[in-house]
């Protein structure tokens, strides 16, 4: 696959990509926050439509899983130097505490290792204080180009 001259990562602008691509991120209101060479931070503004337990006003864990899936996925692209077709292989999330109602959740995904076909990721989510995280994530992505 990466030996195939036809398949090269396509450089991208993470901010522009998020602003122009519809889909699940748009449904949840996920926004660009920041990025680096191998990490991506996305923002999930508080939205009552995402509440999981009405009596507590806390958003469901699903939107946080989506946020972290997107942030870690983009971190792999950043580490590879561009976009390649890929799919989530697995994702594990520890929900350390409920997100505080009304606060924007920031999800940071980091790709700490890539091989020819796999990207290894980890990340954290917080709602204002990075030292008081609400979730911790670990996962893997598989490059699908050349395998189909």
């Amino acid at each position: 696959m990466s030996d195939d001259p036809e398949i090269r990562p396509i450089p991208f602008d993470p901010k522009a990509l998020l602003e122009h691509v519809p889909g699940h991120g748009r449904l949840l209101g996920i926004e660009y926050h920041a990025h680096g060479e191998d990490w991506m931070e996305l923002a999930l503004p508080y939205d009552p439509r995402q509440i999981g337990q009405p009596d507590r006003g806390v958003i469901a864990s699903g939107p946080i899983l989506s946020l972290m899936d997107s942030a870690t996925s983009m971190s792999v692209w950043l580490k590879r130097g561009g976009m390649l077709p890929q799919a989530t292989l697995d994702l594990r999330i520890d929900y350390l505490r409920p997100a505080t109602p009304g606060r924007t959740v920031i999800g940071r995904g980091e790709c700490y290792r890539v091989t020819r076909s796999i990207g290894f990721v980890r990340g954290q989510a917080h709602d204002g204080d990075p030292d008081d995280p609400i979730a911790h994530v670990a996962g893997t992505f598989m490059t699908t180009a050349g395998f189909q």
Binding site: G23, H24, L27, Q53, A60, S66, P85, L91, R92, I93
Partner: protein, 124 residues
């Protein structure tokens, strides 16, 4: 399920069948990840809701409270642009902890596109 705003946002409907409720997630633009495929987060969210539905059915107690502790999702096949179903199963219901599994499929329950394991803290 319908009174949970996040389930409503995903457009989930309930189908009663054998065992725990089967949740049905319609396909629309709001579920798309990469072109032609459902976003991993939408599938994960559906799997979590199916686990919650199974847990609520097993608890059978309106006053019981629960919190997700963790979730591990395995993605087995790309979710295509069509309706997705998911069903949970409580593997152990303790006094404080529940272990719940769920799986999601499109054409056939025998060909899951993803599966999840969840641990919940419960209070009743």
């Amino acid at each position: 399920m319908i009174e949970i705003p996040y389930a409503e946002l995903l457009g989930l409907e309930v189908e009663q069948g054998e065992g725990a409720p089967v949740l049905v997630m319609p396909f629309d633009d709001g579920k798309i990840g990469r072109p032609g495929f459902i976003h991993g987060g939408a599938i994960g969210g559906l799997l979590e809701m199916a686990a919650v539905a199974a847990l609520m059915a097993a608890l059978d107690d309106e006053s019981a409270r629960w919190k997700p502790i963790n979730v591990t999702v395995d993605y087995m096949r790309g979710g295509r642009d069509q309706v997705t179903r998911a069903q949970g199963a409580v593997t152990r219901l303790g006094t404080r902890i529940a272990n719940v599994e769920s799986r999601a499929w499109q054409e056939s329950p025998d060909k899951p596109i993803a599966a999840a394991r969840m641990n919940f803290l419960i209070r009743r």
